[in-house]
């Protein structure tokens, strides 16, 4: 638990109440930006008024640079942040459709509410339309299996651009700031070109503040470059204790059978204990310092499962890489022995339960041989090799 933010609340209700405050400022700002007016929003798509682009990207830059700077300073704990999961095909097609709906109605979902509460009847109608559209989607996903497949197509879990592009976040942010800055300059040029046939949208600030626009854009970009550069500079290492998460023996067994390449098991017990058996593929790590060079070769986000005899939550040494994810085996080796190696009897006639039992016994049969084998091997067994031979299960959710 590192980082002060996001704030933690006493209960869900207190958390919910912050929503009304943030929403108020959101709605107020949208209204003052002119986004309660469908004509102003639609003008974006005819190059008459690029306010949608300018406001949206300025906001993204401010929030992005601010957030990642705070993360670099160790104030924000990103693991507690809700990041939109990626379902790439659903989002690509949904995004395109939303763009179509945007130009047809002149409003997007959030701004339709602002428009409605500025008294605009078209906003009210669009907002009601969203209820119909949502209902149509919810019903059609039951009726058309292809839509249900599209809804989950291209699932990548929580995926961020730095992971996908293989660029570090600060570099990417600097790139986005530069590109958005160029985009804004472009937007100003485009606006000027189309100004001749500009359909004056009621109350758009008159062309005079255009000079101010340049200053704003320039100062803003510079400020963000500075903040971004600070964020990109090596931040003081965040010294925080890592709390390993518990993993159930059966779940670990399944992962071992699946041959997850990003999985590493460490046995923290002394050599006398390991002679009575180890988790297959586990690396003896009674001397924690000796395991360090090995850990440093692992790819980021590799799951490292440690275990002792009885499953006490272990301390993760300060010098172990923070890029890895640490787990401890619930119940320790004892839990492994009783939970995985020991066959069980079905306790009820429930079909699901019986299937579970059957699966557990398969696992038990699989590993009881392997456990004997690995105890005989004194040298550290290769971590990945034996699992790799098994057929990989596609575990995409």
């Amino acid at each position: 638990m590192s980082g002060l933010f996001p704030l933690e609340f006493l209960n869900e209700e207190a958390h919910l109440l912050t929503g009304i405050l943030m929403g108020f400022f959101f709605g107020f700002t949208l209204e003052r930006a002119g986004f309660g007016n469908a004509r102003k929003l639609a003008a974006q798509f005819y190059f008459h008024d690029m306010a949608v682009f300018k406001v949206m990207f300025t906001a993204i830059l401010v929030a992005m640079v601010g957030l990642y700077s705070l993360v670099a300073m160790g104030v924000v704990d990103m693991s507690r942040m809700w990041i939109n999961p990626t379902f790439i095909w659903a989002q690509v097609i949904g995004g395109f459709l939303l763009g179509v709906g945007f130009i047809v109605s002149g409003l997007c979902p959030g701004t339709s509410m602002v428009s409605m509460f500025s008294g605009r009847i078209d906003g009210l109608v669009a907002f009601l339309g969203m209820f119909i559209g949502s209902f149509v989607f919810i019903v059609s996903i039951d009726w058309f299996p292809s839509l249900a497949r599209l809804y989950v197509a291209g699932s990548m879990g929580t995926s961020t651009l730095p992971d996908v592009l293989g660029v570090s976040a600060p570099v990417l942010i600097l790139g986005i700031v530069v590109m958005a800055g160029l985009g804004m300059i472009g937007a100003e040029v485009v606006e000027r070109i189309f100004q001749k046939r500009r359909q004056a949208v009621e109350l758009t600030p008159a062309p005079t503040p255009r000079a101010r626009n340049w200053k704003f854009a320039l100062t803003g970009s510079l400020a963000m470059l500075v903040v971004g550069a600070i964020a990109a500079s090596p931040a003081p290492p965040v010294v925080a204790s890592v709390e390993p998460v518990a993993i159930e023996p059966l779940s670990l067994a399944e992962d071992l059978i699946a041959g997850d390449p990003n999985l590493m098991v460490l046995d923290l017990r002394s050599a006398t204990m390991t002679e009575n058996g180890m988790v297959p593929d586990a690396l003896p790590a009674a001397d924690r310092a000796a395991a360090l060079p090995y850990l440093q070769t692992l790819a980021p986000d590799t799951r490292v499962v440690v275990y002792d005899e009885v499953g006490i939550r272990p301390e993760i040494p300060q010098d172990w890489p923070r890029t890895l994810r640490y787990y401890f085996l619930a119940g320790g080796f004892e839990g492994w022995r009783t939970g995985v190696l020991t066959p069980v009897e079905p306790a009820s006639y429930d079909l699901e339960h019986r299937e579970q039992v059957a699966r557990q016994n398969q696992i038990a049969a699989f590993f009881s041989g392997a456990a004997v084998q690995s105890s005989a091997v004194s040298a550290p067994p290769p971590v990945i090799s034996s699992g790799g031979a098994k057929k990989k299960k596609n575990r995409g959710c």
């Binding site: 006493l10 209960n11 209700e13 207190a14 109440l17 929503g19 009304i20 509460f117 008294g119």
Partner: protein
């Protein structure tokens, strides 16, 4: 003659905690709104009479305003339908009228409801536009008694107006007292609930009237009145909560449902922020700039009024004298 008598409402003893369903808050909402319409139309009738005496030519009311009193008997009928839906033994409802129990608010309520029909219909008659009255007089001429009653009401307009204000106030207070005398629910066990529901009811009544095509000066009058009523309502809500907070462990536990418990977000969002503060600030800004109050603040007031009753009925049943232990533990 109580529909539901229990001082031990605790899910360990009574498995049904939410004995009152969604029908009751709607009934309370419509009842409060009718109370508001009756009080306001009675008051506006009196004002008009006063103005008629002082100035030679009092400004004629808009057609919508003269017809609005007719909403009272219709809305109260719909409300009573919901109440009847909530009663387990709907067919026994007529028994309320065979006795009068001074100690039972439900008995009071059923008699108030009985008085509301003649009072509101007669006032609506006297306030209707003259061509409307003449048209119906012709159609109903086959019952001469009706004509005589109508004439009598026209001659006693001040009395009718006063009767409507009194009956409306009684109805408004009754909707709160109905909850307030339920000693088994600490959240409702407060004397402030009656005035709170009355003020809220008049406010929703004004909001309901604002939905129609009124003349500008009528809108401004109702808008200003609505603002004062909302301010008073906020004050009463604060008093009610302070009262609960200082009354003892059970009451504090009951209040917890609204300040930390499961109804916190709903109460502060829908009732206080959306239903009271937003229309208050919005109408204040509009009136300050000389704009005529529109329909949106009125809709928000109606949403807030319904939410207040909805949340109070459900949150009240969530809390109980025995339940406060679990409540304070959180």
């Amino acid at each position: 003659m109580n529909e539901f008598t229990s001082t031990r409402s605790n899910h360990l003893i009574d498995p049904v905690l939410h004995a009152w369903g969604w029908e009751v808050p709607i009934y309370l909402f419509l009842g409060g709104m009718v109370a508001g319409i009756m009080v306001l139309s009675g008051w506006m009738a009196l004002r008009r009479q006063g103005a008629g005496m002082s100035s030679a030519r009092a400004a004629a009311p808009s057609r919508a305003l003269s017809l609005l009193p007719w909403a009272s008997p219709f809305l109260i009928s719909i409300g009573m339908m919901f109440l009847w839906l909530d009663l387990e033994n709907g067919f026994n409802a007529h028994r309320f009228y065979f006795v009068f129990e001074p100690g039972s608010p439900m008995s009071w309520g059923s008699w108030i409801l009985l008085g509301i029909y003649p009072a509101s219909i007669l006032l609506a008659w006297t306030m209707s536009p003259s061509e409307f009255r003449e048209g119906w007089m012709k159609r109903l001429s086959f019952v001469p008694a009706l004509g005589r009653i109508g004439d009598w009401a026209m001659q006693h307009m001040r009395f009718m107006a006063g009767a409507n204000i009194a009956m409306g106030a009684a109805l408004g207070i009754y909707t709160g007292v109905l909850l307030g005398t339920m000693a088994s629910r600490p959240l409702w066990n407060s004397a402030i609930l009656g005035p709170l529901f009355l003020v809220s009811g008049i406010s929703t009544g004004a909001a309901f009237m604002l939905l129609y095509r009124l003349a500008d000066r009528e809108r401004i009058f109702l808008g200003k009145l609505d603002m004062s009523l909302i301010a008073v309502e906020l004050l009463l809500l604060a008093l009610w909560m302070i009262g609960l907070a200082t009354a003892g462990a059970a009451s504090r536990g009951a209040l917890w449902a609204l300040i930390g418990g499961p109804y916190t977000a709903a109460f502060w969002t829908l009732v206080v922020a959306l239903g009271l503060l937003t229309p208050l600030i919005g109408e204040w800004i509009e009136l300050r700039h000389g704009a005529v109050p529109g329909r949106l603040p009125a809709i928000l007031v109606l949403v807030g009024g319904l939410s207040l009753r909805w949340i109070l009925v459900y949150a009240g049943q969530f809390t109980s004298w025995a339940g406060d232990l679990t409540a304070t533990l959180h």
